[in-house]
């Protein structure tokens, strides 16, 4: 029965339209339903750790609640929280079962969840003065320096977040927060090439190929509406850093982009999966969200997501505590809670994004670990193919090129 649960959960989850940058799986519903169904079987999540033994390859949510009981107990003494937590986050970015668990464990009756739809929106609002109203948020890593500089986030008191030790070292000490003071990694993924191999027979395993092949599929190419991601393609095809602000390099990138523009069907961050599904688009510069669904569906099983061989971007979403948080104790308690391996594993299952938490990975079903659209093979990560993004969206040259590109879409 557990296996059946697992399969149905996976199938439902993989059919959801998930987008990158933290847009959550519609399968949260399915996940929650499954979780509730599994939990009502008896083993309700408890706050007292029971046995310490963790079974190998546990099926997903049916065992998650048991895992919560068997997970590592915080060794420090948790202060009582303020009873409130005010979160400011992407829509539905936390597993509902975990929310309930947190509320129960830490006696947080008042949980509010306000949403924003982009990092830029968050930063702009904070810059305009909207701070002081929330405790915790989840911006993308490259915005950390800007948030710190504006005084919008505060240092995390790691003594209150011992579970952070489970985070994989390769996500620590990175350029955006060299001393790891302000953020805690949440999940991560890549930008790459999506292709309907049924229609596109050529090899598109690199950005260079992508540009070469584009004219042949004119009017059937979809690109995400995000300058930081779109610049990756030409810059990497030319062998430059995807964060380049060098005018010469950008100028060459511009030429590639302008040659591509007439052949683009749409700039679309939300519905690219749909366009690929109907065949309106057969090639795309996309994130991984929703592609799982296409791959699982027999009608569109020819869909492939490719991490280009000339390199690409990887993104990391991070937990931060806003400056002057109304409830700092609860905020820290939450960060600690979410990194509990079983809790974090559930997040991975529900959100379908890779977790940076090593202990949690041990509890994630193998099928998910092997899915290249979710977990990038370690080999690729080690090869240096992946570069992290810097927040260069304010660079004047980039802005001008992006504007020019946007105005030229579809125009011959």
């Amino acid at each position: 029965m557990a296996d059946q649960d697992l399969d149905s959960i996976l199938r439902r989850m993989s059919q959801t339209q998930v987008n990158r940058r933290g847009f959550m799986a519609g399968g949260a519903m399915a996940g929650m339903a499954a979780l509730v169904a599994a939990c009502t079987g008896g083993s309700k999540a408890t706050d007292a750790p029971a046995s310490a033994a963790a079974p190998s390859t546990p099926p997903a949510s049916a065992a998650a609640s048991e895992m919560a009981a068997a997970s590592v107990e915080p060794v420090f003494s948790q202060e009582p929280t303020e009873g409130h937590l005010w979160m400011y986050n992407w829509s539905d970015y936390i597993d509902p079962g975990n929310i309930k668990e947190f509320q129960k464990r830490y006696a947080v009756d008042d949980w509010t969840y306000d949403t924003y739809a982009s990092n830029e929106e968050l930063l702009t609002k904070l810059q305009a003065g909207a701070g002081g109203q929330w405790d915790v948020g989840a911006p993308t890593a490259e915005f950390t320096p800007a948030l710190v500089q504006g005084g919008f986030i505060q240092k995390i008191d790691w003594s209150k977040v011992p579970n952070a030790k489970y985070i994989d070292k390769q996500f620590k000490g990175l350029w955006w927060d060299p001393k790891d003071e302000y953020q805690m990694p949440k999940d991560w993924g890549t930008t790459g090439i999506a292709v309907r191999t049924k229609y596109v027979t050529e090899d598109v395993s690199s950005w260079k190929n992508f540009f070469d092949v584009a004219p042949k599929y004119s009017g059937k190419i979809v690109i995400v509406d995000s300058p930081g991601d779109v610049f990756v393609a030409p810059l990497k095809a030319l062998g430059y850093s995807l964060n380049s602000v060098d005018p010469t390099e950008l100028s060459k990138a511009r030429d590639l982009l302008m040659a591509l523009a007439p052949h683009v069907l749409a700039l679309d961050s939300d519905q690219y999966q749909k366009k690929l599904q109907t065949g309106e688009a057969v090639l795309g510069l996309t994130w991984t969200g929703g592609l799982d669904g296409l791959i699982q569906d027999p009608k569109t099983a020819d869909t492939k997501y490719i991490i280009p061989s000339d390199g690409t971007l990887y993104w990391l979403d991070t937990w931060v505590i806003f400056a002057n948080p109304p409830h700092p104790i609860a905020a820290h308690a939450f960060l600690n809670f979410i990194e509990e391996p079983a809790i974090q594993a559930q997040e991975t299952i529900t959100n379908a994004y890779a977790t940076p938490n090593d202990e949690a990975k041990k509890l994630v079903p193998q099928k998910i670990l092997d899915d290249p659209t979710i977990f990038v093979p370690q080999a690729i990560f080690d090869s240096g193919l992946l570069e992290s993004a810097k927040d260069v969206s304010t660079d004047k040259n980039r802005v001008a090129i992006w504007k020019e590109f946007k105005s030229s879409i579809g125009k011959k």
């Binding site: 059919q15 519609g26 829509s91 609002k125 305009a128 749909k274």
Partner: protein, 321 residues
């Protein structure tokens, strides 16, 4: 053209020419009538087509792509009724919509009446501001208003510095007041359009008879303005209920409205969940409206058909209308 010599028909009536009594030469009449009728129905069909699609697919049992019909199901409605967050969002939307509409209608109507008598040096900049409030794109208003709020009622802002009290911060008050700007102008223009066609002689006559502006207003002007006022209220409610950008920028904690929720949720794809939320939003507002309509018409029936026309009707008759 000067004001028409004959007084206008009392409010609510329509002097339609009975069919069949048209002059024979007007054979094109029925054709035009047919065209008017079908045009109207076509437009309503056009307006409701997407709504139909939204409602139909809200019953789709699939949890993935909303247009992949997988069977009839009420689960998404169940979801809406059990999800506290969505209910909170709906209440926020209704609150914001209602208060903005009330304030905009009252303030806008007052302004429309007052502007008639204003001296030119005041009227010109005021008119310009009215247009400007419509012209400035929402993102610009959203950002600049947020900055304004931050500087005045935010932490360390003017107000708390001067009074030494705590910061007021963002909340319903900021959302409503920011949205009201556009809507005040909306109501103002609607009422003005109505006013400019109005018959001055009524008003002057009644003023001579009754003397106080207040009475004149309620008995004469107000009933004739009513369609414009109601139209203004409906539009204000609609535009603040469903506003995204301004609300998103100046709202306070736990004040996410339905549009904000939907915008963020749509990033994960158009699932039947969001359709159900939209459908519920529709049904709730429709229900409120129908109840209001029912109560109003009961009240009108009790008061008699002289109703809104009131004294105006009597005056019209006296002048041989």
């Amino acid at each position: 053209m000067s004001a028409p010599a004959t007084p206008a028909a009392p409010l609510g009536s329509s002097r339609e020419v009975p069919r069949g009594k048209r002059p024979a030469r007007d054979r094109s009449g029925t054709l035009v009538e047919f065209w008017l009728r079908s045009h109207t129905w076509l437009v309503y069909a056009f307006l409701y087509l997407p709504i139909l699609v939204v409602v139909v697919f809200s019953f789709n049992s699939t949890s993935t792509r909303v247009t992949n019909w997988e069977g009839f199901s009420l689960r998404w409605y169940e979801n809406v009724f059990t999800d506290k967050a969505i209910q909170r969002n709906l209440i926020n939307s209704l609150t914001v919509g209602f208060f903005t509409a009330v304030i905009s209608t009252v303030v806008g109507t007052m302004a429309a009446l007052g502007i008639q008598r204003a001296p030119k040096w005041f009227r010109m900049p005021f008119d310009a501001l009215t247009y400007v409030s419509l012209i400035v794109p929402e993102i610009v208003i959203a950002l600049s208003t947020l900055v304004f709020f931050a500087v005045t009622i935010g932490r360390g802002g003017l107000v708390s510095t001067i009074t030494g009290g705590p910061e007021i911060g963002l909340g319903y008050h900021t959302v409503v007041s920011a949205l009201a700007v556009f809507n005040i102008s909306l109501v103002l223009l609607l009422v003005q359009a109505r006013l400019s066609n109005m018959d001055r002689t009524h008003i002057e006559a009644s003023f001579d008879l009754y003397g106080t502006p207040w009475r004149t207003f309620w008995q004469i002007t107000f009933p004739q303005l009513l369609p414009a006022i109601v139209a203004g209220f409906l539009l204000s409610f609609t535009f603040s209920f469903d506003d995204y950008i301004i609300t998103s920028f100046v709202h306070g904690t736990n004040q996410t409205t339905i549009p904000l929720y939907v915008f963020s949720a749509l990033r994960k794809g158009v699932t039947p969940a969001t359709n159900a939320v939209a459908a519920v939003m529709l049904f709730v507002t429709l229900a409120i409206l129908l109840v209001g309509q029912f109560l109003l018409s009961r009240q009108a029936r009790r008061a008699g058909t002289a109703g809104a026309a009131g004294v105006a009707g009597m005056i019209v008759e006296q002048q041989g209308g």
